[in-house]
């Protein structure tokens, strides 16, 4: 706790430098990484970071020492060169982009290692610091370094904000950008320039190997939380900054601990949390979504089964034993219980407790079941009529589509098929208007006649319950396509 206060009181100028450096790096790399991820260029950053090494070494040889400006210049030139090489190779040959990334990465880095060993064997003074470029040494950052690297990061951020709209468009749809007259090539070049700049600024803190992760991980974590690029950029910058703080704090409390790797690990931790917890896209939330969907499908299947039983014997008043329902749908006892209680709660079915006991569709339930059967059969008809799929192959597809077809799609299907009477299997497609059709009233007549004999139907309180349900009925809201 004391170290925490000590750390955040920022008394020590060294802490201020390191903290400022890592935060600026995290923010700018996080923000730019979003573009890299969206353009599927995540590992280009890795290659550029590696390819910078020979530039650093050459700058060192020419300047005869560690001059930060020369090192940045060298790094910058080689970063651009490597990007150009990757682009050139994959554009002018049949080598796939990933192979050209790998080649540039390894060959440039090999050249860097050759130069590095050359420097070491020729015995330059002050060459020890060059190794820092490989693994980063944020803790060794002094005032001048922070000024230089911080200045770079700030520049990157400002440029990103100014040309945000252009960068966004080019990242999502370069051909559209081209067609409305944006200078796509120039914007892409600017983006490459920014990327090289941020990598150049970053290797001092996290090193060649881990630089890619500062581009990729915060952006990937941010993607889970939002669909808006602006927000994603902000979140990624935040994650980057947070990992910068964590990394510097850990290496402050335990000086043997390297800052860069801890930055990466803390960013990865945030990524993992986002992967699990983010609403909508996170793993946990998706689990619940999936469960909800499968519950809904199970409910709808039961409704459909009840309806098809009614269709088979033409009677809407007969109770259907739960056992038979379960046998037809192959459900476990437990799911069956959950599904039926949900249907009862939503007043789509009613329970009759006599002998034999069982379930009945309420009018609302019947309406919903009809809708399902209708879209099922419409879809089958659509598949066989428009896609010429054999009649015996359409059922499976319709079985899953019936749960997904919205009222708008249903409307379109009906318009394009002209509200057909029958589906490919010659079954009637039930429309909502049939509620008042003579055929139905006939069966009602029949039902009324059978009333006495049927043990499953008790007029009175029960029937009130049957007609009672209104709430939670999706058919009521979406079924307006029915009456046309």
């Amino acid at each position: 706790m004391e170290t925490l206060i000590e750390f955040f009181s920022l008394q020590d100028p060294n802490i201020r430098y390191v903290l400022a450096g890592t935060i600026l790096l995290g923010v700018s790399a996080g923000a730019l990484g979003c573009f890299a991820i969206l353009r599927r260029r995540a590992l280009v950053g890795d290659a550029v970071a590696h390819a910078i090494l020979p530039g650093v070494c050459l700058a060192f040889i020419f300047a005869g020492g560690k001059d930060p400006f020369m090192l940045i210049l060298g790094a910058f030139i080689f970063g651009l060169l490597s990007m150009a090489t990757m682009d050139f190779i994959s554009r002018n040959s049949r080598i796939a982009p990933d192979a050209s990334i790998g080649m540039v990465l390894s060959v440039f880095f090999g050249l860097g290692v050759v130069l590095l060993t050359f420097i070491q064997t020729t015995g330059f003074v002050d060459q020890s610091g060059l190794d820092d470029f490989l693994f980063g040494q944020a803790a060794a950052m002094v005032g001048d370094d922070v000024l230089v690297f911080g200045g770079l990061s700030a520049l990157i951020l400002v440029i990103t904000i100014i040309v945000f709209k252009e960068l966004k468009l080019v990242s999502f749809d370069p051909s559209f950008a081209q067609s409305i007259g944006y200078p796509v090539k120039r914007i892409e070049f600017l983006l490459a320039l920014l990327m090289v700049l941020v990598i150049t600024a970053g290797i001092q803190a996290v090193g060649v190997v881990l630089m890619a992760s500062m581009l990729i991980i915060p952006a990937a974590a941010a993607r889970y939380w939002t669909d808006s690029l602006r927000v994603m950029l902000l979140i990624a910058a935040g994650v980057g900054a947070l990992s910068g703080v964590t990394g510097s704090f850990i290496s402050y409390t335990a000086p043997a601990m390297p800052t860069g790797p801890w930055m990466v690990v803390s960013a990865a931790f945030v990524f993992f949390l986002s992967f699990l917890l983010a609403p909508g896209r996170g793993e946990i939330s998706r689990y619940f979504q999936k469960r909800k969907l499968s519950r809904r499908v199970a409910c709808e299947n039961i409704l459909k089964t009840l309806y098809s039983m009614e269709e088979e014997d033409g009677r809407t008043d007969r109770v259907r034993p739960g056992k038979e329902l379960r046998k037809r749908r192959h459900l476990t006892r437990r799911t069956m219980k959950q599904v039926l209680s949900s249907l009862l709660r939503r007043k789509l079915v009613t329970y009759y407790g006599g002998t034999p006991d069982g379930y009945l569709l309420t009018p609302d339930g019947r309406k919903e079941a009809k809708r399902l059967v209708r879209v099922h059969r419409l879809w089958e008809q659509y598949l066989s009529q428009h896609l010429q799929i054999a009649e015996d192959h359409v059922h499976e597809d319709a079985e899953s589509m019936e749960h997904l077809i919205t009222s708008e799609i249903e409307e379109q299907l009906r318009t394009s098929l002209g509200s057909p009477e029958l589906d490919p299997h010659k079954s009637r497609i039930p429309y909502d208007t049939e509620d008042n059709e003579p055929s139905t009233s006939n069966s009602d007549e029949k039902a009324r006649k059978d009333k006495g004999g049927s043990p499953g139907y008790k007029p009175g309180g029960k029937s009130g319950m049957i007609q009672g349900g209104k709430s939670g009925n999706r058919a009521g809201k979406k079924g307006k396509g029915g009456a046309s």
């Binding site: 599927r40 995540a42 002018n92 990465l105 060959v107 290692v113 693994f135 601990m257 790797p261 690990v265």
Partner: protein
Amino acid sequence: MITSTGWIIITAILAASSCALVGTFLVLRKMSLMGDAISHAVLPGIVLAFLLTASRNTFPMLIGAGIFGLFTVWLTEELSKKGRIFHDASMGIVFTTLFAIGVIIISLFAANVDIDQECVLYGEIAYVPWDLWVWRGTNMGPRPVWILSMVLVINISFITLMYKELKTYSFSPQLAATLGLPVGLIHYGLMGTVSFTTIASFESVGAILVVALLIVPPATAYLLTDRLHRLLLLAVLFGITSAVGGYYMALWINSSIAGAIAVVNGMQFALVFILAPRYGLLGRKLAGRRVNKYEPGKYEPGLISHPEPEDLR
């Protein structure tokens, strides 16, 4: 008796051939960077094996690294499937995080770990002749040579046994799946050999050179031929020549051997990229000119006889 120069060259040649063989499939399958990912991500495996056995014994390290290599492949795929992120991004997340964890473990036990990250990155091929395997008092020669020979044998037998399957799979996994080939088995078999090749080679030549040896020779060969067996042979040839050339270049300018081999790889590629008859820069230019020299009348209909409607009847 083989001199130390001889051992170094033999090691480099063995590593180059094994890498070129499996690398060919990586390049064809557009998964070139898997080698990069694996070679970085095995660091924690190596360090853990080292800490657990408290020795620099190679076999525990190979096993530790092998586990982490396959773990990387698996995690990358799971993450990109479950987490719905692009494959390259998920690879970037997995391998950098694992490498960072490796570096952290090294710094935690810095006092009793005498492997450093640099060694992992560049490798120490120059020390190969002194890394001897003494078995029952007999000097059997450098250990890396044995390991790499074993890996080479495994790779060659894997490729010869599964040649047809690998061929179908690497050009079209969908076709392979439709034909009923065990795609998952082929994939993980390939990834397994990539892991072991990477690990066995990078102990002596370093993580980055492994990437160079895996990708550059096959990519170079890919510009010269369309046939898989020629591609494999050419890739191995390029690998071996770069190994030998790199060694002498390193000797000449007094630098890291691994780095020099990578540079020679790059030079080979640059040459082929410019000069390759069909897929090189010059070849394409010439082909373009040939097309531009189109003379009206030369390719007029009539050269290819179109069936007249009467013939069809």
